[in-house]
């Protein structure tokens, strides 16, 4: 099998040590979290970093804790930890749902939430849910700390707002509102594990009567250069009471709003077709959850 080529290895014990190394080494150094993406790219020869900075020696970056009306997930929390967390299931079950659709159990035991977000794949399974939940990314660098909304974190395929010498330390999601529900669904080429051809996360917070939309979030994966919040479609949802027709119209606008490419996995045409279907199904489920049927929070 393809062997990994030699690199200079750093295993910092603290965040400040890590960002110091990243800043010093510059573009030649890559942070290593779970390795499920980075090591694959290195083996295929798509990347040949001169240095790897292993973040996993840094203590305290893998916690999942309630925090001031929300949830803070450490960047190094594995996808599997998110999937199995009773804390996450209680407060943000859509994240459990999304995590469970990513890869396979063994991949989920290695891959981290920070790694998934930091990789900035347009097809990220975790990003759409974090976007609709108004998640914020905790960043630390040599210049200090800052927070960026998940929906503003991505600049393009594989590109983020992180500068050299910065790393993700945590992801914060505010508490979901009363009477809300959220869902994530994806479609691949088969039922088994696959990179999403299209993924949709939807979040609905409804008023007391169960039809007025107080808050909405809708985001897609794999249909744009980055995980995309589809704001025009959200406007359709906001524009009146929730009805079957509004859901269908929203789905239609999602399909119009996205800019999917054709690649070896699927055509832009197909992605556009199924993202609309997914949007409808996700919203229907989120509505059901929000209205208190069949579970919810």
């Amino acid at each position: 099998m393809k062997r990994i080529k030699p690199f200079t290895y750093f295993a910092p014990a603290t965040v400040s040590e890590a960002v110091g190394v990243l800043a010093k080494e510059g573009v030649g150094a890559y942070p290593l979290a779970g390795g499920t993406d980075l090591l694959v790219r290195m083996k295929r020869g798509d990347l040949a970093p001169g240095a790897l900075v292993n973040l996993k020696r840094i203590a305290g970056l893998d916690g999942i804790v309630k925090e001031s009306g929300g949830l803070r997930i450490g960047a190094l929390a594995t996808i599997r930890a998110v999937e199995l967390s009773s804390v996450v299931r209680a407060s943000h079950p859509v994240l459990v749902e999304a995590a469970g659709l990513l890869g396979s159990p063994s991949i989920r035991n290695l891959g981290t939430l920070g790694g998934n977000i930091g990789r900035a794949s347009p097809a990220s399974d975790m990003a759409p849910s974090l976007i609709v939940l108004r998640g914020r990314i905790g960043i630390e660098g040599v210049e200090g700390k800052r927070e960026v909304a998940v929906e503003e974190f991505f600049k393009g395929p594989g590109e983020t707002v992180l500068s050299s010498g910065e790393m993700i330390t945590s992801i914060y999601v505010p508490e979901m509102q009363e009477g809300s529900g959220a869902a994530y669904m994806k479609i691949g080429r088969l039922e088994g594990m696959d990179c999403a051809l299209a993924g949709v996360a939807g979040y609905l917070a409804l008023g007391a009567k169960g039809r007025e939309v107080r808050e909405v979030g809708l985001a897609v994966a794999a249909c744009a250069p980055m995980p995309l919040r589809v704001k025009r479609a959200e406007e359709v949802l906001r524009s009146g009471d929730l009805t079957e027709e509004r859901l269908q119209e929203t789905a239609r606008v999602v399909a119009e709003e996205v800019t999917p490419i054709s690649d070896m996995r699927g055509s832009g045409w197909y992605r556009r077709e199924v993202v609309g279907i997914l949007a409808y199904r996700v919203l229907a489920k989120a509505w059901q959850l929000a209205a208190g049927d069949g579970g919810g929070r």
Binding site: F7, Y9, V40, P105
Partner: protein, 160 residues
């Protein structure tokens, strides 16, 4: 350049010096000569290299050896205790869940972790739990049956 690592493999303590670019599967197969763990793609897509690290299934082709320091690894060679086969190993043979055998290690270890988390795992849970291990011989049906049977045996014995 080499790092010292200390970890347990199948209950035995091992100390090695490894370069940081060496993966766990290379350590297991080429340094420790435990060839029961296979490598089918090197990229986490096939599951042949799955071993249990601290009880959790991971693709050992995507784990750097330096990250196994201080941890416990279980490979297929360590499953039988005192010469007695694990219920999964028994059921795999008895229920015809083995054909070419190349995926057997990844399947059995993934199933062990699954059953220890949920001994009553039904067909759907087993399918999901084993979704990351490919079997080109197509033994899925009998593998699922063998895992279910082993789950019953494990429940009966109160074993974990």
């Amino acid at each position: 350049m080499k790092s010292a690592i200390e970890f347990k493999v199948n209950g035995e303590r091992r100390q090695l010096e490894v370069e940081p670019w060496i993966t766990l599967v290379e350590v297991l197969r080429e340094i420790l000569h435990l060839t029961g763990t296979k490598e089918g793609c090197g990229e986490g897509d096939c599951g042949m290299c799955i071993v249990l690290v601290d009880g959790r299934p991971v693709n050992s082709c995507l784990m750097l050896a330096v990250d196994v320091d201080g941890r416990e690894v279980l490979t297929i060679e360590g499953l039988a205790e005192g010469g007695r086969l694990h219920p999964l190993q028994e059921s795999f043979v008895e229920r015809g869940a083995v054909q070419c055998g190349f995926c057997t290690s990844g399947m059995i270890l993934s199933a062990k972790a699954l059953l220890e988390e949920d001994s009553g795992a039904g067909e759907e849970e087993i399918k999901r739990g084993l979704s990351g291990v490919l079997c080109r011989c197509g033994s899925y049906k009998k593998i699922i049956e063998a895992v279910q049977e082993a789950g019953e045996k494990m429940k009966e014995k109160g074993r974990r």
